[in-house]
């Protein structure tokens, strides 16, 4: 028995949406922000972002099973101990979570944009003004949240890159070392 549902993917309300220009502007703004904040802030924000993703993914079957398997071993104990001793969790828990998955998806979308060259020619593009909304209340970033989030992020990155590679793949060519050596070479390199 098969049951169906359908859904659409749309832009977030009250924003300029995802276009090549807004994605380029967002990436440029992210890079520019790095000059304004400390390395510790940047790392804490990324860690917090991975932990937020991990909390979300832990609700799914795969995420929950991975989390349970890790928590049954010494990995979780050692990780938690390191996390506490080096105060990694404190920094990550007070930082604003970086939307790491959205950023990855936006960067992949940029690689697939057919008008990227044209948009890059229009640089600098002003980034969308910050909404000014105070981010949601912080949740403590635990070691396992981070690990599960990092796993989900890596899985998405690998899948994205493999899909990108498929777009340019062609049927494998056979290279025969015994082919005719006297065949004239074509192309401009050996003119």
């Amino acid at each position: 028995m098969t049951t169906n549902a359908s859904a659409i993917l749309i832009d977030t309300e009250d924003t300029a949406g995802r276009t090549t220009a807004t994605l380029v502007a967002s990436l440029a703004a992210r890079l520019a922000t790095l000059y304004l904040i400390s390395g510790a802030d940047a790392i804490a924000s990324l860690t917090s972002g991975f932990a937020a993703l991990g909390r979300e993914v832990s609700k799914t079957t795969d995420g929950a099973q991975l989390r349970q398997a890790l928590s049954r071993s010494r990995v979780a104990r050692n990780g938690d101990a390191t996390w506490r001793a080096l105060h990694i969790g404190e920094g990550a828990s007070t930082a604003v979570p970086s939307p790491v998955l959205d950023q990855l998806r936006n960067d992949v979308a940029l690689l697939l944009a057919d008008d990227l060259e044209q948009v890059l020619g229009m640089m600098p593009i002003p980034s969308e003004a910050p909404s000014g909304a105070i981010p949601p209340p912080q949740q403590s970033a635990a070691f396992l949240d981070f690990v599960v989030g990092y796993w989900a992020f890596s899985k998405e990155a690998i899948a994205s890159i493999e899909e990108l590679a498929k777009l340019g793949s062609s049927s494998p060519e056979v290279v025969n070392p015994n082919s005719n050596p006297d065949a004239p070479l074509k192309g401009s390199l050996l003119r």
Binding site: N106, A109, L110, S127
Partner: protein
């Protein structure tokens, strides 16, 4: 000085309170500044998943059988989107938690603007699963603000129904991350 260090000395208590207050103030100020920094952070354009037809998926299966779910996703954005389906654990009214073993086809997809992709999810029902109505959810990774509720009616009994009383002791299918090991354990039991 010795009197000041005594725990009964009011000055010592006052000093401790002041230190705690200053530490707490610094901590709260840091949190506030971080949140302000978040309000001024660069905007990251995002994606919202909106159900079109039906946000509830219903299925019927026997223990040891399987059922399929399908989700059509269309990208109305102006650039490529990405989608990867995921299943939540399923829970019955009697409190049994089932971690479904599912095959996703495709597991991940790039969706071009104005294009659609159809995700098919084949869920294998363990033969030891006690009958009942199981409720779970199908979602897309990173887009959990909208999930599709799944109600799976597991009825009838399979050849290994005698195991059902044993399986009530704990979660079904939650015997490790690798499904293969779970299968081999079941084989050993039977």
């Amino acid at each position: 000085m010795a009197k000041e260090e005594s725990p009964q000395n009011p000055l010592s208590d006052w000093l401790r309170l002041q230190t705690d207050f200053q530490a707490r103030l610094a901590d709260e100020t840091l949190r506030y500044l971080r949140r302000l920094q978040g309000a001024a952070a660069p905007v990251t354009p995002g994606t919202v998943l909106v159900p079109e037809e039906g946000s509830e998926l219903k299925a019927n299966a026997k223990p040891g059988g399987a059922f399929e779910l399908a989700l059509d996703v269309k990208n109305y954005q102006r650039v490529h989107a990405m989608a990867a389906p995921a299943l939540d654990p399923m829970v019955s009214s009697s409190g049994i938690t089932w971690y479904p073993e599912a095959e996703f086809s495709p597991e991940f997809s790039l969706v071009a603007p104005d294009e659609s992709v159809k995700f098919t999810v084949r869920v294998n029902v363990p033969s030891v699963l006690p009958p009942g109505m199981y409720i779970g959810a199908l979602s897309l990774r990173g887009l959990r603000q909208q999930v599709f509720r799944i109600s799976a009616d597991i009825t009838g009994s399979s050849a290994t129904a005698s195991h059902s009383s044993e399986s009530k002791r704990g979660p079904v299918g939650n015997r490790g991350v690798k499904p293969k090991s779970a299968k081999s354990k079941k084989a050993k039991k039977s």
